[in-house]
Every structure is written in C-alpha cells, then in structure tokens.
Amino acid sequence: MRVRPTGPILPPSNIQGNALIVVIAIMAFLACLTLGAVSMVRATAAGWQSQISREITIQIKPAEGLDMDRALQQAKDLALGFVGTKDGTIMDDGATARLLEPWLGTGLNLEDLPIPRLVIITIDEQNPPDFAAMRDLLALELPQAFLDDHRTWVDRLISMASTTVMIGTGVLVLVFIAMVLTVVFATRGVISGNRHIVEVLHFVGAESSFVAREFQKHFLKISLKGSAAGSAVAAVLFALLGVWQANSRATPESDQATALFGTFSLGFGGYLGILTTMIIIALLTTLTARITVMRTIDEIDLIRSDPAKSDGLPAS
C-alpha cells in the first residue's frame, strides 16, 4: 500500500493564510516605501546643507575711486591666504548680469549701475577657515568688502532639514507601529482560526514546545513570502524611479521631481534598510505566532481549573 508523502501538520495554504500573506506584503511595502522616502529626504537635506556650506561669498560694493577688478582680485587673494580655503572664482560681468537678469532684464550694462560684485570661495567643509579673522582682515584691507559665510542660510536649512527628517521619522515610526499591530492582529486571527489544530495536537500528547515550533515554522514561511514580496516591490519601485529620473534628466518633469523629492536613489543603506524591514516583519510574525500559540495552550490548560469554562468537549 502506497502512502502519499506526509504533509505538514498545518495546512500549507488556506484563505486565512493567503490573506495574511497579502496583509504582510502590503504592510512591508508601505513600511519600505516610508523608509525609502525618509532616507531620500535625509540625503537631500544633507545635500542642500553640504552644497551651501561648501562655499562662502565676498561681496564688494562699488565706491568712488575703487578699482573694482583690482579689489575683486585682492579679496580673492586675501581669502585664499587662509588655511581651509580651496579655490576662488570672481563672478565675471556676464555671470553677474545673468544673476540679475530675472529682475533687471537682458542687455544690462554693469558699468552704468552701482552693482556689488561677488567672489566665490570654495572652502574645506571638514576644516573651515577662521571666518572672524577673514572678516576682520577684509574690513581692514578692503572696507567695501562684506563676507557672507552663508551661516544664516545654513542654519535655516539645517533647521528645515531636521524638521523634515523629524516629520519623516515620525511617519516612519507610525507606519511601523501600524505594521506591527496589523501583523500581530492578523497572525492572532489566523491562529484563532486554527485553534482546533492546537487542541488536537495538545490532546494527542504534543508538548507545548512542539506545537509552538510547528506554528513558528508555518508562520515564518508565510511572513517571509509576504514581506519579501512587499519589500521587493518597494525596492523595484525605487529602482525604476531612479532609472526614470536618470533617463529624463534635464526635462521639466524630472527637474521638478528632483527639486521636490531629491534623487530616487536609495544607495546600499536604503536597500539594507528594506532588507532589515523584511527580516523584522518575518521575525515579528513568527514571534507573535509563538506567543499566541503558547497562550492558546495555556487557555486550554486553564479550562482544567475553571469548570465554568466548559468548551472543548461537548457536554453529554
């Protein structure tokens, strides 16, 4: 007599199990999406901050008898004499005109207007120069020069970036809490639907650890399937958006998206985060399954000490 290969003690798939896979997949997708978005916002904010703090500007106001070109060169040389400066660029007439074009229109003759001129100095972010000393020296040597170290903008951006990251992290925490609760309740729901299996196993002499192990194995498979699917979809979505952005660079749509969201590039850390989220969901589901099964067995055993609870065997 041939016997079919022994099947698992828990049914490999049923409606509740499939629904749980979908719930886990959706929650994993949302969690990974939020994680990716927060990581993008953080990177973009750091980028803004870094770009603006990498440069300082020396502004020279025109004055009677001032040789502007010489003053610009002098300011550049003075600044580059400090440790921590890397490079200096004098904004030429053409660049200055382009800068003023939105307000003053095209065909501007700078000679006719008392327009301040700029020297842009690139600095070493890790080892910035002594701004106070530079400011003092400029005031002494070139009273028309004004040093702008962008501190006001950097401070504003830092505060805006930290607020944005804080809000993003808050949303991430909320999504994670929602995910944890959803996964926990969905898992408990499925186990409650399989309570008869726990009871039968218990009554045929299975030890609690055996029953818990069987359920853990089963729910680990379910949660890995669900969370892998959700996380993979999120990762692919980010990858596709990144490809789209790279291919449509310099188009108005892409520029707008870049300005709003930054680049859709998660980097190794982002994908590692997605993988970690997937593992957390799988472990969480498995742990919930174990705790719920142990609690169910406790309940079955507790009926022994409380005759008022007489469910289990039907009364004669």
Partner: protein, 199 residues
C-alpha cells in the same frame, strides 16, 4: 462518588443526558482539573502534576472524541499517525504499524483519503485508530457509536473488545442501552451526582 478503573478492565459509563459523563471523561483525560476530591491516575494525584508533565501522561491515555476531531487537511493515515509524529518518531519506524492498524479497523482502502470524504462510521474508526496507535494503557471513548448504524456499532464494539483482550482498559461513555445489552460488562451509571456500579 468513588470508583476505580482496574487494569485490563472493560466498562460502560452511562446515565441520562447532562448527567456528567463527558465531564467525568474529561477529568480522567486531564483536560479538566477537579475542584474537589481526588483523582489518582497511574499512581499520581492529577491535581498535583505540573503542567509540563501532562503531555507525557496523556500519551498513556487514548481518547475518542464524540465529534472525532480529525484534522481535515490530513489523510486518514496522517491523522492516525499524528500521535506518533508529535512524539518525534521517524515515519519509517511506524508506517507499517499505522497501515496494519488501519486495515484492522477496516480502513485499509481509505488510507490516502481526507476526512471530508469519509462516512461517519469511517471517521469514527479513524478516530479510534488514532487513539489506539500508541497502545494506550486506558482508552476513553465518548459516545463512540453515536453516529453509526447498529451493524457498525456492533463492529466498533468488537473492536473495543479485541483491544481490551490485548490489555487496554476501556471506558465507553454511552446511553445506548442496546449496545450495553450486547455484552456482559461492568456498568457505571451516573445519575444526579451519584455513581452506581454494577459489576
């Protein structure tokens, strides 16, 4: 009430509906703890046994539930083999024993069938086979003939008698007088909290 179930004995537990037959069986099966009195099983006071040891004691008791309690996704073979599987035994060590037992209870042709397509009598026999597979010292059966016709009831009774001859103590809870009249066995009659025993 005071009673004992001697080794290798055969008895019916009877009484009107609601008398407490199932409750008494549950107490004997350790799925209900007594609030008063003393139940000793295998030489131990059941109320004093730590929870962790209960599965080991339950393995010495076979129980047949009135509603069978077969797992729907497992075949007859897998349901009957379940007690051995949960004890961690390798399938190769018990496959032939399970098939032999299934043939003995008349389910040799239904080995790979799921419970959904078994008749009431077949389910009952599968539940009995599951209770017997690890050769329990005592078998508790709750209304085992409640869902079958008289010829099948007779067949099941023969099965219990055969099992008893092999050394298992048998307690059958039933209110089927016709079944009890078929053999001369000890009767325990439960009425209004009192147990009368007729040897």
């Amino acid at each position: 009430m005071t009673f004992d179930i001697p080794k290798r004995s055969f008895q019916f537990l009877t009484g009107p509906s609601g008398a407490g037959k199932t409750t008494l069986l549950r107490l004997l099966f350790m799925s209900l703890q007594p609030t008063r009195g003393l139940i000793r099983m295998f030489g131990r006071d059941l109320s004093q046994i730590p929870r962790g040891e209960l599965p080991m004691l339950r393995r010495r008791v076979g129980i047949v539930f009135q509603d069978f309690r077969l797992l729907d996704h497992l075949t007859t073979y897998e349901n009957v083999a379940l007690p051995l599987r949960v004890r961690g035994k390798e399938e190769g060590t018990y496959r032939n024993d399970v098939i032999e037992l299934l043939k003995w209870v008349g389910l040799g042709e239904r080995i790979n069938v799921l419970p959904a397509v078994l008749s009431g009598g077949e389910k009952q026999r599968a539940a009995i086979a599951r209770a017997l597979i690890d050769r329990p010292e005592i078998l508790l059966a709750d209304e085992p003939t409640g869902n079958v016709d008289p010829p099948m009831a007779q067949r099941l009774l023969n099965l219990f008698l055969e099992l008893n001859r092999l050394g298992t103590a048998v307690v059958i809870a039933t209110h089927d007088l016709g079944l009890m009249d078929k053999i001369d066995a000890r009767r325990m009659i439960l009425t209004e909290g009192r147990l009368d025993i007729y040897e």
